[in-house]
Symmetry: C2
Subunit: 204 residues, 2 copies
């Protein structure tokens, strides 16, 4: 039944999801593939094709029911299954992510934030107290967390990653501009901001 969904489709589906949230705020009940397509400057048949991967169907002449479609996307992409994570590095980026309200809507629950700067430890960010790095391992174990969001300065990235591997973290969402060397059983997703920017501007 379930078809494999490619990265580009996942990305588009989350954009559709943003649009649907917006339509709900505006109390609009229906949406057509054409409306979505125009907002994203893509082809409407592609939107329909993506939506057909969900277990959802629209109606001729009407389009899709906004609320239903939104829920379909959430189910398919697994928003409903909560994923627990820790943030490592309470700098601006770590703080921004800790405060980024939307993550919870998408099933990403951030449980704690860590730093090794004594001036930061103990301060509160979005209801979470910044903890000493040395407590990380115990917290990860206690709360059964295997995702770490790495936002430390680049020069500490590898040593911090080594520490995370020791703490049995299995997935690292890496916001540092560093390619991490980790064992095969640990997965890294490089949030390569500069790469993304260049994709955007390469053809300017």
């Amino acid at each position: 039944m379930d078809k494999k969904i490619s990265d580009k489709v996942i990305n588009r589906l989350t954009l559709y999801h943003c649009i649907l949230s917006d339509f709900i705020d505006k109390n609009i009940e229906h949406i057509s593939s054409k409306q979505i397509a125009e907002l994203l400057h893509i082809d409407d048949s592609q939107v329909r094709k993506d939506i057909n991967l969900l277990n959802n169907s629209g109606k001729s002449r009407i389009g899709y029911i906004v609320k239903e479609l939104k829920i379909s996307i959430e189910k398919t992409l697994g928003f409903k299954k909560t994923k627990k994570a820790l943030i490592i590095g309470a700098g601006n980026l770590g703080t921004a992510i800790a405060n980024y309200g939307n993550f919870t809507d998408y099933g990403l629950k951030i449980l704690a934030i860590f730093d090794n700067d004594k001036n930061k430890i103990g301060k509160i960010i979005n209801g979470m107290e910044i903890q000493n790095m040395y407590e990380l391992s115990a917290t990860a174990l206690k709360e059964d967390i295997d995702i770490a969001i790495l936002t430390v300065p680049g020069k500490y990235a590898q040593s911090t990653a080594d520490f995370l591997v020791n703490a049995h973290i299995k997935y690292i969402w890496n916001f540092t501009p560093t390619v991490l060397s980790v064992p095969n059983n640990v997965q890294v997703w490089n949030e390569n901001l500069m790469g993304n920017f260049l994709q955007f501007t390469y053809n300017i």
Copy 2:
């Protein structure tokens, strides 16, 4: 001569670039496609294929010269041509980006940061004074800037985008979880953090 480089290749090239920077820090002069491939868990022939898109050649048994390869990537991806941008929104994310030292290495120069919060205006971030939004248009014109980095809260995203369009901004790097409606002559790149995260975790 110049072949079109796809998004995925651009992304990989920037990761190679991170690795090369790291090798330079460690004073290592040569690097092989196999070494790069192992760090990124990809195939070494793909690394060679990517590198062949640059005007660079390696040596059998030796590999590539780290410094030369790094410069080749920079030339090809246009790091050398400076792109000027403004940040809109001096919250944590805007501040994080303003402080993110690596952007300058990659040819992205951030010239100013704007907010409409009177408590923030006048404060200094990374040498830049936070300016009132109303000054944006004049600054963009004076400095000939057409890229805006949008980091305001989601609910203000569309109205701010309208303002940017009026200020003749042509490229918006959108960090808000909102699909913006803009005229056809304005390009938006959605930095869809949640989409990226889901690509990472979808198969967990």
